[in-house]
Symmetry: C2
């Protein structure tokens, strides 16, 4: 634990001077003030009053970590974050991790070095234990993604129920041979989607087939590849549950290019309800995720944390609902 | 012009001490070094040797300003930037301006406060005279967007020829009543696209009709609105030239929803060649823009500037070609 004495020793100034700087008293030169502030940062000295003083030096910037910007789901979350940020004179710094653990950690340093006031994760690559040490550097929020052991506010969607509803819809339409395309990571979000899918199957007495489970599937190109694999199978599924509209669009496109009819030959359900879901033919049945709304709620919580109106080092879960949108691909 | 004497006076240290810090000599405490570095930054003192010393304190971060992330064209540029940045251990900070002049200027301050090493514009909102003062703060590059009076490297695509080719293609297919959807700003890019369009019409002896010119049209929703306006006209165009695949997708979707056939009733040409161009039916004729490539080239130039292997305060233009991709919407 760093004390005023440590700061005094480090700067070569008297304890009285350090104390005057911390309490923002007059008659201290700007050079000395700067020296003390630098030393406090370097030594990690933040008593209440000093925290108060540092708090006034806010950057007005909040960092947002996204895995990849080419997925409209994440840019839509950013739209929501931005609406509320703008009203509160905050700016967003958007950091693309490309799902790299190392990149994620280096962006976290922006919080440690006070280059940003707060940080929002829309996906998490590292284990929580690696992120935990940064919780002391400023408010951190998990938006969309979540982890059981995280000790910060989480704003999430009801992923389990989303995939349960989607799968149940396929079963109600008479499909029994259902494939699953997912993200494949061990995050709370991915696990819950898979659980929801398997729960709906199990409820209907259907056994999930391993050969029809496709992990690590994310974009249009991946969707096309999945359909190619399905076409090569002797025993093909008659419906595909996907974790993104982009994947579903790739599957539908590849199916049509191979003279299959959707949904007669193969039904496909998306996830997100992006613009592409209504542009494609047939228009896509999908799970609507309120991506802009989750962004808005997240930024509102962030602003409360920045204004110290809420406790940031505490597990809090805000859950928003998710809906099934029935169109013509199922 | 700030001198060593100014730094000495500001810090309360002797000129000899300041000089020792600048030249990185031993026997100076870390506190004094920090004090001098802070003062140099605040006073804007950068002699050659000091610049050398400061250069070692790079952040390893390059800011990228984009108007909106929901347009895949910009996220694709970012993909290209990222590939080269990663190879060179640089990180990108992506700043969404939402086409706001004020936001653009506040992001520029990141360069002034040395929070980033360099800055890339993919669109420009302010006049060049407002941006010019920041040129001294670090390397700035214009990528995609360009302005005649800018005095920095510009990596651009041949927009004039792109829209000329697209329009000529429509004319060759027999269309004479051609509408134009554009961005509407006074940037070099927007002006060149309009010029190319009008040049192709003029060459074929066709007069452009003001009533068929649609400015400030950017996304799928805008495209749908344009088609609604066209449907309400007594004298309708038989083809539409657009400045983005998203706009073209909105037009095609709205046309089909109103029982028009594309291209028989109305031909539509996109711009970009995004994924949506091949997902929609009919597949879209469009102008391919090498968005990832322009990103890669831009970051290569940025790295030369950061390593002082090229002069950053100099107008330099790199122009990449652009191609017509003929599919089924024309």
């Amino acid at each position: 634990m760093t004390t005023i004495a440590d700061v005094a020793k480090y700067t070569g100034l008297s304890r009285a001077t350090v104390s005057r700087v911390i309490n923002n008293y007059p008659h201290v030169s700007e050079q000395k003030r700067e020296l003390v502030r630098q030393a406090m940062m370097e030594l990690g000295y933040y008593p209440n009053s000093a925290a108060q003083s540092l708090r006034n030096q806010k950057t007005g910037i909040v960092a947002v970590l996204v895995p990849r910007l080419t997925n409209p789901f994440f840019t839509s979350i950013i739209e929501g974050l931005e609406v509320i940020a703008e009203k509160n004179n905050l700016q967003l710094l958007i950091c693309q991790t490309k799902a790299s653990k190392q990149k994620e950690l280096s962006f976290l340093k922006l919080l440690k070095t006070k280059q940003v006031d707060g940080l929002i994760f829309t996906a998490i690559e590292n284990e929580w234990s690696k992120i935990e040490p940064y919780v002391d550097c400023g408010p951190i929020i998990l938006c969309n993604e979540y982890q059981d052991d995280a000790t910060v506010p989480m704003i999430k969607l009801d992923q389990y129920n989303g995939s349960y509803m989607g799968t149940k819809h396929l079963i109600e339409r008479g499909y029994k041979k259902i494939a699953f395309c997912g993200g494949g990571s061990e995050s709370g979000l991915s696990l819950d989607r898979k659980k929801g899918f398997l729960a709906a199957l199990s409820e209907a007495g259907i056994k999930g087939e391993d050969k029809w489970m496709f992990p690590f599937v994310y974009n249009i190109g991946d969707g096309k590849k999945v359909m190619k694999e399905i076409l090569a199978m002797d025993d093909r599924p008659t419906a595909v549950f996907t974790s993104s509209d982009e994947v579903a669009a790739g599957i539908i496109k590849e199916a049509k290019d191979n003279n299959l009819t959707v949904p007669e030959d193969i039904a496909v359900i998306g996830f997100d309800d992006q613009a592409i879901a209504q542009i494609i033919e047939p228009e896509m049945t999908t799970i609507y995720q309120p991506s802009e709304e989750i962004g808005r709620v997240t930024m509102e919580v962030m602003i409360e944390l920045l204004n110290n109106k809420a406790q940031s080092k505490m597990k809090m879960i805000y859950e928003l609902p998710i809906n099934l949108v029935i169109r013509k691909s199922t």
